[in-house]
């Protein structure tokens, strides 16, 4: 029994160790230590694992090695967090069509292609990269590791002492489990706060991160509607959530942005231009994910920047053709036709048009479009199969 107050005190300390997002108007950045080296056994261990992961990552077939794209993304990070901070960071862009980026304790930054497809300008990209950089600067992996270890130790000891003293410690153990997830959410808030400070010191508008979360919520809603589910956003995170909810983040980041009213240029046109070469690949990856509503939203957002360009219309045609309802095939044919009218020259527009028409019973027009495709791309990888559709 004598141990119970001690355990309770430790748990209380553990549970209350992280502050909520500070309500401060200060945008002063903390002092940064370049070329930081790990100092403790725990930290050296984490860095060793991260180094090993990076060696494997460097050779991964998923890495997009295009020099211009990598240089551009690095440039956005450096303009956001500052040249001194970004100097030692290694960025790896991975072909993974989902919204994510992450950073390892040794300075390895992973950026997924789905993030590059979703953000609409340099400011939004910078905001997300800055958030990940903030986790790195605040050494969150180490803190989370130590917190989890302490919590799991206390969990085990509570079980032992509870057994010896015939005391029910279930509630205490649940609190410890909850503390791990709460700690993670608090780290996210801290990273949001620091990344907000980077944004305030950058040439980009500080409201960009709030914009990102608003778009993620809207996409999530459209995905739900497309899957005939109720769109639902929560303000309060669940017990097992590792991140605050997007609605919560959008709210506190918007409030913070309004307090400092920091303007700036988002550089939408430059972003659109810099990612143009890879957009067809990113769109093709997204279209094949069977997420009609979410993909429609992403396409709409991209079109809101530069209008319905040929590559967007083509991707929309592919999306509708993949769903394949009769009405979708009519729409798909329309989008392919519109893409061709804008001067979109990829032969695949004729392919998509022909296949849509063929599936909808417009055989003559469908075969004509497929014949055009074969004339434009006689050595296409599917030329024999398409020829068979034309001649049958």
């Amino acid at each position: 029994m004598a141990h119970r107050p001690l355990i309770s005190l430790s748990v209380l300390t553990l549970l209350s160790s992280s502050p909520a997002l500070a309500q401060t108007n200060s945008t002063t950045l903390p002092t940064y230590t370049p070329a930081y080296e790990p100092r403790t056994v725990d930290e050296r261990g984490l860095w060793m694992e991260a180094d090993e992961d990076e060696r494997a990552l460097r050779d991964s077939p998923l890495v997009i090695r295009d020099e211009a794209l990598n240089k551009y993304v690095r440039g956005v990070l450096c303009r956001t967090v500052g040249e001194d901070r970004c100097r030692g960071i290694r960025i790896y862009i991975l072909e993974v069509p989902a919204f994510n980026a992450s950073m390892a304790p040794n300075g390895t930054m992973r950026v997924w292609s789905g993030l590059l497809l979703r953000v609409r300008n340099e400011a939004e990209l910078g905001a997300i990269l800055a958030h990940e950089f903030a986790h790195f600067e605040l050494r969150h992996t180490l803190a989370a590791f130590k917190h989890q270890r302490t919590a799991s130790d206390l969990f085990a000891w509570a079980g032992v002492i509870g057994g010896l003293t015939n005391t029910n410690v279930g509630l205490l153990q649940w609190s410890l489990v909850g503390s791990i997830f709460r700690f993670s959410r608090e780290q996210e808030e801290q990273a949001d706060l620091l990344s907000f400070k980077y944004m305030a010191a950058s040439p980009y508008p500080a409201s960009a991160e709030a914009d990102v979360w608003q778009h993620i919520m809207a996409e999530s809603d459209e995905t739900a509607i497309g899957r005939k589910k109720k769109p639902r956003q929560h303000y309060i995170a669940g017990f097992f959530d590792t991140h605050p909810t997007p609605l919560n983040r959008a709210t506190y980041l918007r409030e913070a942005a309004l307090r400092i009213s920091h303007g700036g240029d988002s550089n939408s046109a430059a972003y659109y231009q810099a990612t143009a070469k890879f957009r067809p690949l990113f769109l093709a990856d997204q279209v094949k994910l069977n997420d009609f509503g979410g993909t429609e939203y992403i396409l709409g957002q991209l079109a809101s920047t530069n209008g319905w360009t040929g590559d967007l219309l083509f991707a929309r045609g592919e999306l509708y053709r993949a769903r394949g309802n009769p009405r979708d095939l009519v729409s798909a044919a329309q989008f392919y036709g519109d893409a061709i009218k804008t001067g979109f020259s990829a032969p695949e527009a004729r392919r998509g048009l022909g296949l849509s028409l063929l599936r909808n019973g417009q055989v003559t027009d469908g075969k004509a479009a497929l014949t055009e495709y074969l004339l434009m791309k006689p050595d296409a990888s599917d030329a024999k199969a398409i020829s068979a559709l034309v001649t049958n």
Binding site: R227, L289, K384, A385, A388, N392
Partner: protein
């Protein structure tokens, strides 16, 4: 009485374990593959995995399914996905649709893989018409990388839609060594398919 009951329980467990185990596919005619009218007559021994991945899916392998595997999708009806959905709520799979063209078969496989197996890199490398058990269908090759192991794999497949049901047989193996090692055995197997 107690001893008899214990023996009975252990026997039942043993029988259940045997029923759930992987099994040997001997050379010769094999009917009702993937719980469908699909049949084949292999000339080599294969191992049929207990794990199926779907109601009308059957997996054969020689050295383990990560190293080489033949997957039979038998008579998948319109409106159904080819796999059992791992996360129906948040990652629903594309379905077999009416009036699919032969070129829609590799597209369906690719989309299914991207959603369910996280193959964020996948490419259909070639497509050509073929006869599958005497029905008009498609033969195609593909390559992909799954996020979880990042092994570069190659695949070859034949598929056809017969009476609004999809029949598809795929062979997959790591691009290094394993694909070439057994692809001829798959091609031989395909020549014996019957629907």
């Amino acid at each position: 009485m107690t001893i008899h009951r214990t023996l009975l329980i252990f026997s039942a467990i043993g029988i259940a374990a045997t029923a759930n185990a992987n099994s040997l596919i001997s050379p010769g005619p094999q009917a009702k593959i993937a719980r469908s009218s699909l049949a084949a007559s292999p000339t080599y021994e294969w191992n049929k995995l207990r794990y199926r991945g779907g109601k009308n899916v059957e997996i054969w392998t020689m050295d383990g399914d990560d190293l080489n595997k033949v997957t039979f999708y038998g008579a998948i009806p319109v409106g159904q996905p080819i796999f059992r959905e791992a996360n129906k709520k948040n990652a629903p799979l594309p379905r077999v649709t009416a009036n699919m063209l032969i070129t829609d078969i590799p597209a369906l496989l690719e989309s299914t893989y991207r959603v369910q197996l996280n193959t964020s890199q996948m490419n259909i490398d070639s497509q050509e018409p073929t006869l599958v058990a005497g029905y008009k269908g498609i033969k195609f090759t593909y390559s992909f990388v799954r996020q979880d192991d990042e092994v570069q794999r190659k695949g070859e497949a034949v598929g056809a839609v017969v009476a609004d049901r999809l029949y598809l047989v795929t062979y997959e193996a790591p691009a290094i060594h394993f694909f070439d090692k057994d692809v001829e055995k798959f091609r031989q197997l395909v020549t014996t398919l019957k629907i």
